[in-house]
Point group: C2
Chain length 205, copies 2
């Protein structure tokens, strides 16, 4: 039982360090120091350093697949949309702002995102994961949302993929800025607020 705990602590410490310095620039000693053990002890839990990365990525992926609305929700699914029939533009804005607050603040989501940003040009697997998690899945979610809002006559009928891009890509950029400069969160949240309001205004049906 001690074992499980230390193993998890190693993964947490590794994610902390990988998210800022990247995988290669993080040493076993740094991880060990953060956990409070000697570096040799880490090898009781992981065969080698790359196994730590593998498990860290798996941990991030599991959290993503279990909790992320972008990984699971489908606007074609009546189960997902059944409680949304009476909602207006403001309600959808609130819904989205709730998701944004979550992914800005959840430490695993945030560090996972930072890790992928740092490793995106070096590690082929993480490069693909970066495109999937922080572009494709988000674009898919919001394209679905916008198609749904067009059907509901809340938004005007136009190229939903471009509309989704115009809606979500400024937000993902602001979230990255917030990862880099957390002190600017309030300023950024206000920009996002105004952006969403304006979007629903210009594309209102």
């Amino acid at each position: 039982m001690e074992q499980k705990n230390t193993k998890a602590e190693i993964l947490d410490a590794a994610l902390d360090l990988f998210a800022i310095n990247g995988y290669e620039s993080t040493s076993m000693s740094q991880i060990a120091k953060a956990v409070g053990v000697r570096k040799a002890s880490i090898y009781s839990h992981f065969e080698n350093k790359s196994e730590i990365l593998k498990n860290v990525v798996q941990m991030v992926l599991d959290g993503y697949n279990m909790n992320s609305i972008f990984a699971n929700a489908s606007w074609d699914d009546s189960e997902f949309t059944k409680d949304k029939s009476g909602m207006n533009a403001d309600d959808y804005a609130k819904l989205v702002k709730g998701h944004i607050r979550y992914i800005i603040h959840d430490p695993y989501v945030r560090k996972g995102r930072m890790l992928l940003v740092i490793e995106q040009f070096r590690n082929e697997e993480l490069s693909q994961l970066q495109t999937k998690m922080n572009y494709e899945d988000i674009m898919k979610y919001f394209t679905g949302m916008i198609n749904y809002l067009i059907k509901q006559d809340i938004l005007v009928d136009a190229n939903s993929e471009i509309m989704a891009a115009q809606f979500c890509l400024p937000i993902t950029t602001w979230i990255n800025l917030c990862d880099r400069e957390p002190d600017r969160e309030n300023e950024i949240l206000e920009l996002i607020e105004n952006h969403i309001k304006k979007f629903f205004e210009v594309y209102h049906s």
Copy 2:
């Protein structure tokens, strides 16, 4: 004269490697191998490794300050706008697409951008540079452009900062995607094309 050449080759090789692997994960041996000399020879040109980074960053910065439209242009400057009086929305779209093609393809601009992305959470100086070069300056440029287009009655009068964000932030995201997956350039350029067209459509005066 040999000296100047080798020094420049070292900086080029270093930028190549830093842009993919980051500063700390790049070794003097790697740089030396890329240049075709022994690693000890590098110390004839630079005191230590951090001096290489310093010079690489200076090189990127010099190129930026000399060539980047975002660093220099001001839409309040009559010198800059004097040949633009007869232009319509399509002309401005073409102008912007020209800038985009340049910053996607210019190798120094591209590698500098990638380096800043990789180092943004670790190196305070590069973090600030990332915010300035790949957010603030771009936002400033397009806010200026949109204010100008509002004055010219090409765009409707609204919150120009939000409009600028909706215009340029999807594009910066696509450029990052293009840095990561250069094979998708055509697909991405088409998205940018449609995005710009749609933007001028919905905000047309």
